[in-house]
């Protein structure tokens, strides 16, 4: 056991701190779904890219720094600690890109990855459909293969970043005869293609960002298929596990939420609320340490049991509990938005509260995580399908 960062790691952290302090945007950027906001975000992404900080964990060949898991963690911690803007291309950086990296050909890596880093392409994920939320295997969007072209028809929903995205990595059904997760293919779709319609869909905290995406006879080159045709479920598994997994500074953001709660509790909380703060601090610590342990696992290439479902479920529950408690400490002031956008969208703690409740649903609802934990970790029998 050694809980200390190496001198090199500490130096990397200071380097980042200096750069973020000097170059990070002052104040909050406008929403990326507004014209000025999108420019501001692209400008920030450009600065990161030019400094080499767009994706430290990616290989040098495709524009990353080849940083190891610990340096990636340090980057994520500092990025969160400086409260820098949410990454415009996070679906590409965290999910789509690593999937291409893991399953794509060299040609595909060269073709797709640089565009994510320099934000020429903005990626979104196309898994959920109106009839396929928790049950991803029920996907009905079809990909009809016709020589070297796939013709896509169907609909995706709850697509984060959908209204600004140029590129979707999607699961489509290429074998209509196959049931469930068989016959699905993982494919990258250019949303600028004819036949794509994107309709904005709001989120309940008032913030835009969701979209429904409709496909009608959309032609996609077969060279955009990642992995084998019909093997999409396994390919997508990489992305799903990444989505469940921790990292990306979630532990730092949770700690920040706890610090904010602690300040308000110190100012106006009852003794019982101090006790509740202590309870939440303890679970926040546990989550932080689980993140470090997972980083150690990745860094050493060892593969202990996959605890990403445990982390996802409990992270979202702790996150919600911290914010529920913050509402309680604020009392009658809780509903009053001190910080909100021109259209009434929520910012700060109140946005995070609702967003956190959404997180108990998305990326595999916590009910699905409980199935995974009880079936894969404990070996209990699967639920019978209807």
């Amino acid at each position: 056991m050694d809980l200390n960062f190496t001198p090199e790691q500490q130096a990397f952290r200071r380097e980042l701190q200096d750069w973020f302090a000097a170059n990070g945007p002052k104040g909050r950027l406008d929403s990326p779904y507004s014209e000025p906001g999108l420019s501001q975000h692209l400008e920030w992404e450009k600065a990161l890219f030019e400094a080499g900080y767009a994706a430290p964990g990616w290989p040098k060949e495709v524009g990353g720094m080849g940083a190891d898991a610990w340096d990636q963690l340090i980057y994520d911690e500092e990025y969160a600690r400086f409260r820098l803007p949410e990454r415009l291309n996070k679906m590409g950086l965290v999910h789509g890109g690593p999937t291409v990296e893991a399953h794509g050909t060299d040609e595909q890596k060269q073709r797709f990855l640089p565009g994510i880093l320099n934000c020429e392409d903005i990626w979104c994920q196309g898994f959920s459909e109106p009839g396929a939320g928790s049950d991803l295997a029920a996907i009905r969007t079809t990909g009809r293969i016709n020589g070297d072209t796939m013709v896509v028809d169907g609909q995706k929903i709850w697509t984060s970043q959908g209204i600004i995205a140029t590129t979707m990595f999607a699961l489509v059904r290429t074998d209509p005869a196959a049931k469930g997760h068989k016959g699905l293919t993982f494919v990258i779709i250019d949303l600028r293609s004819p036949g794509v319609e994107i309709r904005p869909l709001g989120q309940l905290h008032g913030n835009p960002g969701f979209a429904e995406v409709f496909f009608e006879n959309v032609e996609v080159p077969m060279e955009n298929v990642i992995g084998e045709v019909g093997d999409g479920w396994r390919v997508a598994g990489t992305s799903l596990q990444l989505e469940r997994g921790t990292g990306r500074g979630t532990h730092t953001r949770l700690e920040q939420a706890l610090v904010d709660l602690a300040r308000d509790t110190g100012e106006r909380g009852s003794e019982g609320q101090v006790e509740e703060l202590g309870r939440l601090a303890a679970w926040t610590f546990a989550y932080e340490q689980a993140t470090y342990a997972a980083t150690h696992e990745i860094a050493t290439g060892r593969t202990g049991p996959d605890v990403s479902s445990i982390q996802k479920m409990l992270y979202t529950q702790i996150h919600t509990a911290v914010h529920e408690q913050h509402l309680a400490v604020l009392g009658a002031d809780a509903e009053v938005m001190t910080d909100h956008g021109p259209d009434g969208e929520m910012f700060g703690m109140r946005r995070n509260y609702w967003h956190g409740r959404g997180a108990e649903i998305y990326a595999g609802s916590n009910e699905i995580q409980r199935n995974i934990i009880s079936e894969r970790m404990l070996g209990l029998p699967k639920e019978p399908r209807g």
Partner: protein, 339 residues
């Protein structure tokens, strides 16, 4: 003992349902979000026509001279329909405050007007930083230490606030020097008890609506080849929430009766009722969003009407910390007394 509402009390709730049906249609409620007052004149007129504004006004002031029991079921329906107005204040705590604590002049000036709907009152028992519906109220009754005071809103400065619930209209109120009159009769405890019990009724209705919506959705939404309502993961979350709401409802109805009777344990019963109603609502709120899944998280879905009202009302009439500390202390005192 008779643990049941009278037929007239049940009928009043049914009449309310029918009379306001068009006004509480979810699209109509959403349309109000962007109007200047956020309030429907028609709805307010209907409430007055139904006589709801008269119920807690004594007969000598042209009221019905009723009790909270007469209003309890209507308040539930108001929660069920997510009626946006601050009705706990205007229908319950304002007339009660004037009745128990107002001077004869104050009573004569305001109670008949509250009864016939020509004036509206709002109430603030926990400071003036966030007062509901001050913009459509003629008079504000507020707590100042152990006293209740009254001020005309036209004399106050109202700063509009933005609530997480786009239906709610909250205002920071600044009082001009010396504008407020004391209500000489005390009455803080009686008003607090009415507030807690009435608020609890609203929460029960709100919770039942969230659960009704969710049960209905669980019966049609299919995943994994089955309606999701056939999974124990869904069924048991709903069972837990429904159980809490229904057990809480017994407390809420009893509290209304005790508050109506002025029973010695009226305040503790009302605190208990609001505590269990808040906890039940919390669980109904949690389960209903969780079980709706992604669709419930969209701006376009109506579930947010009840979700956000619920979060606002968990805190608005006294949060759990305040209420549980008070009830806990009262329980200790009573245990010592019976030792």
């Amino acid at each position: 003992m008779k643990i049941a509402f009278e037929p007239e009390q049940q009928d009043l709730a049914t009449s309310f349902d029918q009379a306001v049906a068009a006004e509480v249609d979810v699209e109509a409620l959403r349309a109000l979000w962007t109007t200047e007052t956020g309030r429907s004149e028609k709805l307010r007129a209907t409430i007055a026509q139904l006589g709801l504004t008269t119920i807690l006004v004594p007969e000598e002031f042209e009221g019905y001279g009723g009790t909270l029991v007469d209003l309890a079921l209507v308040l539930e329906r108001m929660g069920y329909h997510a009626v946006p107005d601050a009705l706990v204040e205007s229908l319950v705590t304002a007339p009660v405050a004037l009745t128990v604590a107002g001077s004869p002049e104050q009573q004569a000036a305001w109670l008949p007007r509250l009864a016939d709907g020509s004036a509206t009152a709002t109430v603030a028992l926990r400071g003036l930083a966030s007062v509901p519906d001050a913009h459509v109220s003629d008079v504000l009754i507020f707590r100042d230490g152990d006293e209740l005071k009254l001020v005309e809103t036209s004399a106050c400065e109202l700063t509009p606030l933005r609530s997480m619930d786009p239906s709610r209209r909250q205002f920071a109120v600044t009082l001009p020097e010396g504008a407020a009159q004391v209500l000489p009769g005390g009455g803080v405890e009686t008003v607090l008890a009415h507030e807690a019990a009435a608020s609890a009724s609203v929460l029960i209705g709100l919770s039942r609506r969230m659960l009704d919506e969710t049960v209905a959705y669980a019966k049609v939404r299919e995943q994994f080849g089955r309606v999701i309502g056939s999974f124990q993961a869904v069924k048991h979350q709903l069972a837990d929430a429904v159980a809490k709401v229904e057990l809480a409802a017994f407390a809420v109805h009893a509290a209304a009766a005790k508050v109506a009777d002025g029973a010695p344990d009226a305040l503790t019963a009302a605190l208990a009722a609001r505590i269990v109603a808040v906890e039940a609502e919390f669980e109904a709120n949690r389960a209903s969003l969780q079980l709706h899944g992604g669709i419930g998280f969209t701006w376009e879905h109506h579930l947010q009407l009840w979700l956000k009202r619920g979060k606002a009302l968990e805190q608005a009439h006294g949060g759990l910390t305040e209420l549980t500390a008070a009830l806990g202390r009262a329980t200790i005192d009573s245990a010592k007394a019976t030792a």
